[in-house]
């Protein structure tokens, strides 16, 4: 009971603002989840498992967005990818001949070159981050979470109106394109 009172007192001090606990723990948990499942995406033999791992990655990234006080992006991430990746997943189910795919070689002949390129990229990142460390101040500023959605809305309809419209056009083109492409030519 005394502990509970102490907790309450702590709260009273904290007031209305969020007091994140164990952010470090959650960050490491989520990023480990994201990276491990990302590795699974590119290594699993069974494409269905790849797609499932991809979803885990995307969901952990959505949680990371939440930790970065970007709730709207997180919500969109969940919604769009739940729908979009869902479709991807279904196509995997329908398209890929599993029995054949499981027996086949999973990586192409240039895998060595690919890994080399990727490692080079990694080295580049390493150098950039090492040297640019002081570009990124240690503790990021607190961003008020409230009104995030409203501000994004205002941003989209004011500063970014043209890109926004172009994006909608892009989606339209994509819809038409996908339908035309997938239609059976009889």
């Amino acid at each position: 009971m005394s502990m509970a009172v102490a907790l309450l007192a702590a709260e009273a001090g904290a007031g209305q603002t969020m007091t994140p606990v164990a952010t470090g723990f959650f960050f490491y948990l989520l990023s480990a989840l994201a990276i491990i499942s990302a590795i699974l995406v590119i290594t699993r033999r069974n494409p269905v498992h790849c797609a499932l791992s991809l979803i885990v990655t995307l969901l952990s990234l959505a949680s990371l967005f939440l930790m970065l006080y970007a709730p709207f992006v997180a919500g969109v991430q969940i919604m769009v990818y739940a729908g979009g990746i869902m479709v991807l997943f279904l196509f995997v189910i329908m398209l890929v001949n599993l029995e054949r795919a499981l027996k086949e070689e999973q990586f192409n002949k240039q895998w060595l070159a690919g890994v080399a390129v990727a490692l080079g990229l990694g080295a580049l990142f390493f150098v950039v981050y090492r040297n640019g460390q002081n570009l990124f101040p240690g503790t990021p500023l607190e961003l008020p979470e409230a009104q995030n959605t409203q501000q994004i809305g205002l941003g989209l309809y004011q500063n970014y109106l043209l890109p926004f419209e172009i994006a909608s056009l892009l989606l339209l083109v994509a819809i038409v394109g996908a339908v035309v492409m997938a239609k059976k030519r009889s």
Partner: protein
């Protein structure tokens, strides 16, 4: 302890917002246990209600009037053999029911059972709910695919197509509700300047209910009949979204045996059932929150636009009566139990049942007494009204199931894309226009 309890009860915000982890945890547990209880009750209630609609009695043997039937069923399901088909993709097969339950329960994270009775209030509440509930289809597809059988596969394909297409109509009507939140009490759009004081349109579930309180109307009556149409579309899409009759094609018994969970048995199967009913609670909660004023009681605004619940003797007669309602409901249930006790045959074989029913009635009566106690009454009223509105939807689900034949797949798609989607778009545009013109 009591002091602590009371000081919590005075807290004006949800535990999530307050950053109170202890209470947040308690709320999470309460919601999970509460929803599980609702599922058990629904199990019994659905069978009873369906039975009485179908001139049957329904469960009568296990406990008085079959009250213990859901528990007996739960035990049966738990101790049943757990069969995994030989050709199944085992990890996915194992994960699917878990994924379904997790997504169904995650959705309940932002459901506002009352002003402070939500686990947390999110800035993106409704978006979060729609997103997570649409994730539920993942589990279904996983189940259907991993079973390595034709019926589940067809069921899960149907399910995913159905959920994806009805989500669109659902989303559109939700947007029109969100538009409605962005208006002040005379129906005008709030200027940007006004939005600074937190009165602008909102995606937060609690904010949406508060907007209805401020505007003095439930959104179902807003811009009559626009709100009503939008609500109607949502009410249809929501049934399709939860794969219930008449849109229960994914588990269409007469065609696909049991659809995506054909190959599941025992505990895993019960997880699917749990998720289905939790999903029903979740989408009903969305409907209640968006259109039917959430925890606000009917005619709450007769005495001015009041959001806070007045104390016992302060409000008008209506306030007083409605404050007593939760307790009265439980007293009524207790009375029904005692009536049933009186009607029980006076035979020795029925003695145990009679005593059990009497005890159950006494328990219900006791709950009623507790609900009368002033501190509890104030806090519980919100939850009561929310629960009552959700219960109406739950009953509607049962009613649909008893009444309607099942749609065919192409008809389902036609209804979704050619009826609900254009109607939803029209309502959305009309809402936007009316909001400006009025």
């Amino acid at each position: 302890m009591l002091q602590y309890f009371q000081s919590y009860l005075r807290q004006p915000v949800t535990p999530g917002e307050a950053g109170n982890y202890l209470w947040a945890t308690i709320y999470v547990l309460a919601v999970i246990i509460g929803v599980s209880l609702v599922v058990l009750t629904m199990n019994w209630g659905e069978r009873k209600a369906l039975a009485h609609m179908q001139i049957r009695l329904g469960p009568m043997r296990v406990g008085p009037h079959g009250l213990l039937q859901p528990i007996a069923d739960a035990i049966k399901l738990l101790i049943k053999e757990d069969i995994v088909p030989a050709g199944a993709d085992k990890p996915v097969f194992w994960l699917a029911p878990v994924a379904v339950v997790i997504t169904a329960w995650t959705t309940l994270l932002v459901v506002p059972f009352g002003r402070t009775h939500a686990i947390t209030d999110m800035n993106i509440g409704i978006l979060f709910m729609l997103g997570t509930s649409s994730l539920g289809v993942m589990g279904i597809v996983m189940a259907g695919w991993s079973s390595n059988s034709h019926y589940p596969l067809l069921g899960s394909l149907r399910s995913s197509a159905q959920m994806v297409s009805y989500e669109v109509a659902m989303g559109l009507t939700v947007v029109s509700a969100i538009l409605m939140t962005a208006m002040n009490d005379s129906g005008m759009y709030l200027r940007h300047a006004e939005s600074a004081n937190g009165l602008a349109g909102t995606l937060s579930m609690i904010g949406i209910v508060q907007a209805q309180a401020t505007q003095g109307t439930w959104f179902v009556f807003k811009f009559f009949p626009l709100g009503l149409i939008a609500f109607g579309i949502f009410a249809v899409a929501m049934v399709a979204e939860t794969n219930r009759a008449p849109f229960d094609l994914p588990e269409a018994e007469s065609e696909l045996v049991a659809g995506f969970h054909t190959e599941y048995s025992g505990f895993r199967w019960s997880l699917f059932m749990l998720a289905e009913y939790s999903g029903m609670v979740a989408v009903s909660s969305i409907a209640v929150t968006l259109w039917l004023g959430g925890w606000l009681r009917p005619f709450a605004t007769v005495h001015g636009r009041r959001i806070e619940i007045p104390h016992y003797w302060q409000g008008g007669a209506l306030d007083f009566a409605s404050a007593l309602l939760p307790a009265l409901l439980f007293f009524g249930l207790a009375l029904a139990c005692f009536l049933a006790v009186a009607r029980m045959p006076k035979l020795s074989v029925f003695r145990l049942q009679t005593v059990g029913l009497a005890l159950f009635g006494a328990l219900l009566g006791f709950v009623g007494v507790v609900l009368l106690a002033p501190p509890v009454r104030d806090r519980v009223q919100d939850v009561f009204w929310f629960g009552a509105k959700v219960a109406v939807f739950m009953y509607l689900y049962i009613w649909y199931r008893a009444t309607f034949p099942r749609y065919r797949f192409d008809q389902l798609m036609r209804v979704g894309w050619k009826v609900l989607l254009p109607a939803g778009l029209a309502v959305l545009i009309a809402t936007a226009v009316v909001g400006v013109v009025l």
